[in-house]
């Protein structure tokens, strides 16, 4: 059955704006009183955070907050057993505990009045970990867990 749209060229509504550099992205908007956040990623792939020192970060000019698992708001609990583990049922679980599950997992967020302040604060946070062995082979991992 021939389709009128599938496989036919279609002009994107946003195409011209994007290729000509005219498209406005969220970051291009100049809003009053906007603040900036920089995420601190874990530098291990699996383990626990044993210590986090944000004292230098808190002193950076213009810093508004340093969010960690110690002070982040509690997110809704994980889905109950009856919900199985459907991707659509999973709730975002960041900054809720000291467990690191994957490389570059967000473990803190530095919020400041300027992007530079947020970046400097994020970079000055000192983290210590108890590192565990991590897996890099998905198939072997799944088979091993059956």
């Amino acid at each position: 059955m021939q389709s009128k749209s599938v496989g036919t060229p279609l002009i994107r509504v946003d195409g011209r704006a994007k290729v000509s550099g005219k498209a406005m992205y969220a970051a291009d908007k100049d809003l009053a009183r906007i603040c900036h956040a920089v995420i601190v990623p874990s530098t291990i792939s699996k383990g626990t955070i044993t210590q986090m020192d944000a004292s230098a970060a808190e002193k950076v000019n213009g810093v508004l907050a340093i969010l960690t698992h110690k002070n982040a708001p509690k997110l809704p609990e994980k889905p109950g057993a009856s919900d199985a583990n459907r991707p659509s049922a999973r709730k975002l679980q960041l900054l809720q505990n000291n467990v690191v599950l994957y490389a570059n997992q967000p473990i803190a967020v530095a919020v400041a009045e300027t992007i530079e302040g947020a970046r400097d604060a994020a970079e000055s946070i000192r983290v210590q970990y108890a590192k565990q062995a991590h897996a890099v082979d998905l198939e072997r991992r799944v088979i091993a867990s059956i």
């Binding site: 550099g21 990623p41 530098t43 291990i44 490389a103």
Partner: protein
């Protein structure tokens, strides 16, 4: 010609006087980044851009003397394909990724900087530093200093100049090795030459002996190869970047050949 620090890379590359008098600069700028980045990038910013060494960026590698003085250099024991073969130190083997700087080095530009104590002029070859035992210091700007303008000299005549950039992809990639050549010919005799290599060191790499060796020589492949050998003299390869030595030689020869062939 004087170029302000806030001039956009795309504007500088497109300027008719730059294209006419310093084509190597225009070619170098256009070979870098993407159109969108060139529209946003400035002369001042490009001069100060930092290395793209993976271990400098990734904090999961704690060893980086540039990021954390005294912690070591992960690149020395890890994949170091894009790293330096010249002018490096046991503390740091990172390279400078700027194309514009290689062209400015070959042109012999000077940089006027402003600091707390006033203004001064720095020869381009002294603007960027070699890593030595302080790889965290990348330029000779003092803390609080800012680069204000770049002066492009009227001598030597840079109209016969070329930039050759060799990389894994044809576009949107940093140089593995690049070469900027400025040639002044008298018939087919070399009257003056300035040549800089990129992608091989912590700063654009010029060797006075290589340039001196060409003065008065015939513009020929043999002459270019002699100069190229002198340019890479003392090269120290690492596990994954040995190819850069021969590549640098050939890229230098190609840049000189291309410059010589310009009408």
């Amino acid at each position: 010609m004087t170029v302000g620090a806030l001039v956009r890379n795309s504007d500088l590359a497109a300027h008719p006087l730059v294209r006419e008098r310093y084509p190597v600069l225009s070619e170098a700028l256009l070979s870098g980044a993407t159109g969108q980045l060139r529209n946003a990038a400035t002369t001042g910013g490009n001069l100060l851009q930092r290395t793209r060494c993976y271990y400098f960026y990734d904090p999961s590698y704690p060893e980086c003397n540039k990021r954390n003085p005294g912690s070591g250099c992960a690149a020395l024991r890890c994949v170091n394909r894009i790293h330096a073969i010249l002018g490096a130190s046991p503390q740091c083997i990172a390279t400078n990724p700027s194309d514009m700087s290689v062209a400015l080095a070959a042109i012999g530009a000077t940089v006027q900087v402003q600091g707390a104590k006033g203004s001064r002029t720095i020869e381009f070859s002294n603007f960027h530093r070699l890593p030595g035992d302080q790889p965290q210091r990348e330029t000779n700007l003092q803390p609080g200093g800012v680069d204000r303008v770049c002066h492009l000299p009227s001598q030597p005549d840079c109209r016969r100049s070329s930039y050759i950039k060799v990389r894994d992809r044809n576009s949107y990639a940093f140089a593995l090795v690049s070469a900027a050549a400025v040639l002044v010919l008298d018939g087919d005799t070399v009257r003056d030459v300035q040549i800089a290599l990129g992608g091989v060191a912590h700063k654009p790499w010029r060797v006075a002996a290589a340039e001196r060796a060409l003065i008065g020589k015939k513009a020929s492949a043999e002459s270019w190869r002699t100069a190229a050998d002198l340019l890479v003299q003392g090269a120290q390869p690492h596990q994954d970047n040995r190819f850069k030595i021969e590549l640098a030689r050939r890229t230098a020869v190609r840049a000189l050949t291309t410059a010589a062939a310009l009408s």
